[in-house]
């Protein structure tokens, strides 16, 4: 008994009890903080009944299994939340799966809310999450594969539709997961580091989501979902840049509306990266590009500003980032207040103090809004970050600097891949069958024309 306790470092919540099951002495080991004691008791009573009745396979049921005693297996089972009964005389151990599940309800994720459609979200339990998926995808080719990391209890699961996902992509991901050295995983972010194609790229190569409907749509498109056993966040791959611009709302809204907003979001990508640098270029190098009336107004507004446009832009962008960080860290009602106070009051004060022009405030505010349009928080952060090198390039070389930055960005995006699938597909390489999906929410079916109430000639429709 002491040997087992030592194995678990005499932890206060680790319990080893000597019990008698149908007249046979055994040790019952478990973490009191992890198991459902009532269920363990019930399983023990059932076990006793089965032994007394002489049932074949007395130790095997949906919740229990018997195997030869093995120390490492014992440790793993207890750490997973099972209770283990050790029969020292027969050198057997019986595992009772009775993990106490503390689970919140599958509420809609706060950062992925939609107007129409399901309001469900994943929770911190893989079984519940797969259950949510199976409720939506009632098909036998929904496959779950589990990867138990060596010497650890962390479990990674991949879920895909066998008839939809490309086998070579599934194999690629499987290969990467199998190569992961033994480590504990606390977040999907750690896992991403191991399975991404290019870790040093700022662009995410997996889409993260906590929404079952989003996972469902993506599985139907042949993607693979990667779950860890303790996180509601799911990684979806392979993705392309345009995947990050698709929102679950696109699929629930009307065709034209969904298409319009998808295009607005794509436009926002360029606005969010290039707008401040465009303004800096115009103000610093190419003011003659603007119509004369506008040039006069802009020049009048900046004539009393002592700093160059790049300084104004950096100041305001930094200020926006501070507000954003502060509003995330604070409780929601206070966070909103900080955002309002920061945005309106301090922004106005900055202009009144002559540190920045009105136009720059407009540009920075529009840029911030364009950045927040992106449905993916990961890509949103990348866009916000990319703005800064573009501003520096614009301040140094104007439009030429912007062009250099844009080309470098495109070359980088062209070099990038997700699970070896090109990142800019279906635009580059061009795939005409999927190209339309980038810009439009394509209707799922073309409805037959509705029957008229009256046919020509006065014949009434049936």
């Amino acid at each position: 008994m002491q040997i087992i306790k030592n194995e678990f470092k005499n932890s206060a919540d680790f319990i080893v009890k000597e019990v008698e099951v149908a007249g046979v002495k055994a040790f019952l080991c478990f973490y009191s903080t992890m198991i459902d004691a009532e269920m363990v008791g019930r399983q023990l009573r059932l076990l006793e009944e089965r032994v007394e009745q002489g049932t074949n396979g007395w130790g095997s049921s949906a919740s229990t299994s018997v195997e030869a005693f093995h120390k490492e297996r014992l440790v793993a089972a207890i750490c997973e939340g099972s209770a283990v009964l050790i029969f020292s005389e027969s050198n057997l151990m019986l595992e009772i799966k009775a993990v106490k599940v503390t689970e919140r309800s599958p509420d809609e994720p706060v950062n992925e809310q939609v107007v129409r459609g399901a309001h469900l979200g994943f929770v911190e339990n893989f079984n519940t999450n797969v259950g949510l998926l199976r409720n939506k995808l009632k098909r036998p080719d929904l496959v779950v594969e589990s990867f138990q990391m060596e010497k650890t209890v962390s479990k990674i699961n991949i879920v895909y539709l066998a008839d939809q996902a490309a086998p070579e992509v599934v194999q690629e991901l499987r290969g990467r997961l199998e190569k992961i050295p033994y480590k504990e995983f606390y977040s999907t972010g750690q896992l991403e580091d191991y399975i991404e194609d290019r870790i040093l790229s700022p662009f995410p190569q997996f889409l993260t989501t906590e929404r079952p409907d989003r996972v469902t749509y993506n599985l139907l498109e042949g993607k693979i979902a990667v779950f860890t056993d303790s996180s509601p966040t799911v990684l979806l791959g392979p993705v392309n840049l345009f995947t990050f611009y698709e929102s679950p709302d696109d699929y629930t809204s009307r065709v034209l509306v969904g298409s319009f907003y998808r295009m607005v979001r794509l436009l926002a990508f360029f606005l969010a990266i290039l707008l401040p640098s465009f303004y800096i270029s115009v103000m610093s190098f190419h003011s003659e590009i603007l119509p004369v009336e506008l040039t006069n107004q802009v020049k009048a507004s900046v004539k009393d500003i002592p700093y160059p446009p790049v300084f104004e832009a950096l100041l305001l962008e930094l200020f926006i980032e501070l507000i954003r960080e502060a509003s995330i860290r604070l409780p929601q009602p206070i966070g909103q207040t900080v955002a309002i106070v920061g945005g309106i009051v301090i922004g106005d004060a900055i202009v009144s103090a002559g540190l920045a022009s009105n136009q720059m405030v407009i540009v920075v505010a529009m840029t911030a809004i364009a950045g927040f349009v992106v449905p993916s928080p990961e890509l949103n952060m990348v866009i916000r970050m990319l703005r800064f090198p573009f501003m520096v390039l614009a301040a140094t070389f104007g439009f030429f600097g912007m062009l250099i930055g844009t080309l470098i960005l495109f070359v980088h995006l062209l070099n990038l891949s997700s699970l070896k699938q090109p990142y800019l597909t279906p635009v580059i390489p061009f795939d005409p069958t999927r190209f339309r999906d980038v810009f439009f929410r394509i209707p799922y079916y073309r409805p037959d024309r509705q029957q008229p109430f009256f046919r020509l000639g006065g014949k009434k429709a049936k």
């Binding site: 190098f285 119509p291 439009f399 030429f400 495109f410 070359v411 580059i428 390489p429």
Partner: protein, 344 residues
């Protein structure tokens, strides 16, 4: 692993490489040489692109990229790139950054080129796609000048002397520069390439350059071409649109992006010609190439050298795109037959 590209990618690369840099300036050279006869002379010469490509497509397997030939083409394309770089440096210096030393501008161009060259092959093959919306936008801007078109500027024709027509014919070769890239890029396209596809490509190419020639011709008077070296840019500069005062400033950067990609395609081709042993060290090769390019290109960024390199390039083009390919193909076919080998 052998690189495979589709026929669409081949034509896009060829189009970008052939249009890349020269399309802003060839109009003045042609009009100054033959006057109003420039447009029909170019049309007549432009029609030759199809038989030219057809012959290349028919016999490309007989054109062996062996040591000395690969070396000659490598040097030629390198010099074409250096001349483009010098022209970009000079033009930007004149149009946008008179106070910035041209070498700084060119160094930035070379940095982008280095990144492109050290990327995987697929990147250079596909990057031309980003230019498609820019090309359409540019065409739209150019067509905005049609309101001020004086169609009688195109006539009367047939006034040029034989000598002028000869000179004009040489100048009309400028848009053909880069056609020999087809011989190399074709080797990456598996299977047959139909004549129909060649005809479509030739049609698009001809239509593009013909528009680029005719629109400035109907916009400017004949005498004005003597004063302007880049008619397209001047045309855009003089257009009056509500949303922007200087369209040319925006266009310079579209042209620049176009030229960058064209240079990337030339660089890609040069790298493919390197011997297998050297080819593997991609980043080192790209670095050496870019340093050399900057060194040579920076010497060509003055008005005189731009003009001189442009003229020399024309004759070099006639040798590398017409004389040498057909000579090599003929020799290979004749010797292939004599040796009992089967010519392709």
């Amino acid at each position: 692993m052998k690189l495979h590209i589709t026929s669409l990618q081949l034509f896009l690369m060829l189009f970008i490489a052939m249009t890349g840099t020269v399309f802003v300036s060839f109009q003045s050279l042609m009009v100054n040489a033959v006057g109003r006869d420039a447009w029909w002379l170019f049309l007549a010469q432009g029609l030759l692109i199809l038989p030219h490509l057809w012959l290349f497509n028919r016999f490309y397997q007989d054109f062996k990229w062996s040591g000395p030939i690969a070396f000659l083409y490598g040097v030629y394309w390198f010099l074409v790139m250096a001349s483009f770089l010098g022209y970009i440096g000079y033009t930007l210096n004149v149009w946008a950054y008179p106070k910035t030393p041209a070498i700084v501008i060119m160094a930035l161009v070379v940095i982008v080129l280095f990144y492109m060259m050290s990327s995987r092959d697929e990147t250079t093959v596909n990057i031309g796609v980003i230019l498609i919306p820019m090309i359409l936008l540019f065409m739209l801007f150019v067509y905005m000048g049609i309101n001020h078109a004086v169609w009688t500027n195109l006539f009367p024709v047939g006034e040029a002397s034989l000598q002028e027509l000869q000179r004009g014919s040489i100048k009309a070769q400028l848009p053909f520069i880069g056609i020999e890239l087809f011989l190399l890029l074709r080797t990456f396209v598996p299977g047959k390439l139909s004549t129909w596809k060649l005809a479509v490509y030739s049609g698009i190419w001809l239509l593009f350059f013909l528009q680029m020639l005719i629109i400035p011709m109907v916009y400017f008077a004949l005498e004005e071409f003597k004063l302007i070296s880049e008619p397209i840019m001047y045309m855009l500069k003089s257009q009056d649109v509500a949303f922007m005062e200087r369209l040319d400033l925006l266009f310079v950067y579209i042209w620049l992006a176009w030229s960058f990609v064209a240079m990337g395609i030339y660089a890609f081709s040069v790298m493919r010609l390197l011997p297998e042993k050297i080819k593997k060290r991609r980043t080192r090769n790209a670095a050496v190439f870019c340093i050399l390019l900057l060194a040579v290109g920076s010497r060509l960024a003055t008005k005189e050298t731009v003009r001189l390199s442009g003229s020399l390039l024309l004759y070099a083009h006639l040798f590398f795109a017409v004389a040498l390919p057909f000579l090599v193909i003929m020799v290979n076919r004749v010797f292939g037959k004599k040796r009992g080998g089967k010519p392709a």
